[in-house]
Amino acid sequence: MNEEIKKIKKKGPIRVEAVIPVTIIFILSYVYFTYYFDRHMKKLFEYVGTQANGAEVNVASVKTSFLKGSFDLNGLQVTDATKPTQNLISLQNIHFSYLWDALLRMKFVVEEASITSIQIYSPRKTPGFVLPPKPASPSKIEAIEAEVMGQLKDEFKKNVLGDLIDIIEGGDPKEQLEIIREELKSEKRVKEMISDVEAKKKVWDEKVKTLSDTSKIKEAEEQVQKITQQKNILEQAKGLKDLGDVLKDVQKQYKDIQKSSKELEGEIKSVTQYPKEIEGLIKEDVASLKDRFKVPEIDFKDMAMTLFAKEFLGYIAQARKYQALAKEYIPEKKQEEPLIPPPRKVGKNYEFPVLKGYPLFWLKKAAISSKGTKDTYSGEITGTLTNVTTHPKMIKIPLKLAFDGDFPGLNIRGVHGLITVDHTQSVAKQSADFSIKAFLIPEKLFVNSDKMKFGISNATGSTQIKASLTNNEVDMSWESQILKPSYIVETNSKLAKEMLTNILNGIPTITINGSASGAFKNLNLNINSNLGDELGAGLKREVGAKVTEAKVKIEKMIDEKINAPKNQLMSQLGGNQNLIAQLKNVEGLYKNNEDKIKSEIEKFKKNGQGKALDGLKDKGKKLFKGLKL
C-alpha cells in the first residue's frame, strides 16, 4: 500500500494538477464576461450616472466584445431632475471600436465611434426618480462664469431707457410750464416794481401837490405891489424890509422845490432802470427754463452696450466654460518631459523614438446624429468629432467638432458649428465658428424694469459667433440680424411711448455687431447696433423737437405773463415824468417870482427910496446916539 502511494506521488516538472483549476478559472471568466460582465457594466453606468445626474439614469443594454475590442451602450436615458416625466437627454446608441494593436500597447485608440439619435427633452414612459438635493455650494464653473459676467460694468447695468423716460418726461413743456408758472423771477420782480412805483407815485403826487401850491407866489406879488404903491417913506422902508422877507420865503420855497425835483429825478432815474432789469430777468427765466429741457449728453454707442452687453457676455461666459472644461480634459501644453534623474528606487525612464505608437487615448472619429421630435427641443443634427487625444502633439492633427442641422421644434434652421482645438503646436489655439441662419424670437426683452418694458417679439433672427483663443487671449466677434421685429414698448409715460414707437417704426431690421478681445479677466468689449444708434439719434431728434417747442412756449408764456405788468410799469414811469414836468413848472414860477422880487428891490434902491431910507436910518441912529440910551 505504501509503495503504491509512493509511486503515485512521483511527479514530473510540470504541475499537471494545476491545469484543472486554471481551466475552471478560464471557463468561469469566459462565462462571466460573456453573460454577466455587460449586465454589471450596465448597472454600474446606471448607478454612477444617477449619482452624478441627481436623477434616474437608465441604460437599456451594454455590449462589449473583447475580441472585437468594441463597446456599445444602447438606450441611454437621463432623467430631467426638474421634470422627471421627461429626459434631459436620451441616446439610442453609443458605439466605440478600439484598435487591438493599440490595446496591446496599453493605449486606447478608437477607430470609429458614433453617437446616434440624440434627443433632448423626450418624454419618459415612467417618471424617473430624483435623488434628494445636496447642499448647494458654488462650483468652479460658476466661479469662472462669474469672472466673465463680473465685467458687466455698472454703467451697462443702468436702465438707460428708463433714464431717458425721465428726461422725456422732464421735457414735457405743458407739465413743466404748470410747475414753473409761479417760479418766474421776472414776473415776481415786475410785481414788486409796480407796487414800488405806485407807492412812490403816491408820495410824490402828494409832495408835488404841496409844492405846486402857488398861493405864496400870489401873496408875494400882492405884497410887492402894495409896497411899490406906498408913498410914505417910513412905510416904504418898512415895505422894503417886508419885501426882503418875502424874497427869503420865495427863495426858500424855490430851494425846496429844486431839492424835491432833484430827488424825484433821481428816483425816476432809478425807476427807469426797471425795464432793463426786467429784460435781464426775463432772459434769466428763459435760460433757466431752457435748462430744464436740456438733453443730457448720452453716448448712444453705450446704449447698444447697455442693451446687448449682458447677452454678449453670456455667450463669452459659455465659451469660457467650455474652454475651461476642454483645458481640463484636453491637455493644452504638454512639453517634452525633461530627463531629470528620479529619486532612488524609481530609476530612470528612457524614451526611445516612437516609430509606430499611439497616444494613451485617441478617438479618431465619432459620428454624431440626433433626431428632431415634435414638441421637444431636439434637433436634426449631424456632425463629427475627430481626433480627440491625450497627446495632440504626437498625432499632429487638431481636434475638430463640426455639426450642421436644424431644430424644427424651435423653428431654428441652418445651425452650423465648427470648433477647432489645436494643441499640436507649442502655442495652443482654439477657435469656434457658430452660426444660425434663421431662428424665431417669440419675445426678447432688452429692458425689463418698473419704469418700462422694451423688447421685441415675433421676429426672425440670424447670428454668427466667431471666437479664437491663443495664449489665454480671446478674440470674439458676434454678428446678429433681427428681421421685422414687433417692438414691445410698455411704459406709463404716453410721451415716451409715442416717441419710442415713432423711432422704432423706422427700424425694420436690427443689426448687432459685437467684439471682445483680451484676457477673460479683462475683456475689451465693444458692441454696435443700429438699434442703439437709431434709438439714440431718434431720441435726440424727438427730445430736441420737444425742447424747441418748449423754448417757444416758454418765451411766449413769459411774454404773456410779463408784458401786461411791464406795460403798466412803463405807463407808471411815464406818469413820473409828468410829475417832474409839473415840478419844473412850479420851480420856474418860483424862479420868476424870485427874480421879480429881486428886480423890485433893485428898483427901490435906484430910485432913491433906498437912499432916503438909508438917510432915515442914519438920522435915526444919530438920535439914538444923542439920547445915549
Partner: protein
Amino acid sequence: MMFLLKQLFGFIKLLNSETGTNQLAAGIAVGFILGMTPVMSLQSLIVFMCLFFFRIQIGAAFISAFFFKFIAFLFDGVFDSVGQMVLETKSLEPLFTTLYNMPIIPFTRFNNSIVMGSGIISFILSPIVFYGAKILVFKYRVIVLERWKGTKVYKAIKATSFYQWYYKYDQYFG
C-alpha cells in the same frame, strides 16, 4: 491565507524530507527574481505564472521573495547603474527602439533603469542562486536535520501518538 499557510507547511515538510531538493532550490531562485524586481511588471507576472505551471515549491518562492524584497533596496544603486549602462549602449538602441514600438513588450517596463538592471542581474544570478540553494538544502539535511533527528526531543515527539496519527494522515491525505 490558507493557501499561503499550506505552502509554508509544505516548504517545511519538503525541506525536512529527503526529496524535492530541486523544487526547493527552484522556488528560492524564482523568489529571488520576484524579490529583486522593484515593481509588478510583465516579466514578474510570467515568473509568477511559472510557479503554478512548473513544479516549483511555491512556499519556498514566497519566503525567498519576502526575504529578497527586504534586502533588494540595498542593491538599487547597482541595479540603476547596470540598467543605465545597458540602456545607454548605442549598439542596443535599435533593439530597444524596436522593442519599445512592439505591442505587449512595453509592459515589461524594460526602459526603466532599475527594472532593466535588476532584471539582468537577477536572471544572471538565478542559476547561481538555484545551485547555491541546492547545496544549502543538502547541507541542511546532512548537518542540521540528521543532528536534529538524533536528539532526544525529536525521538520523544516521534514516539507520541499524535505524531503517529499525523504521519498516517499525511501518508493518505498529505
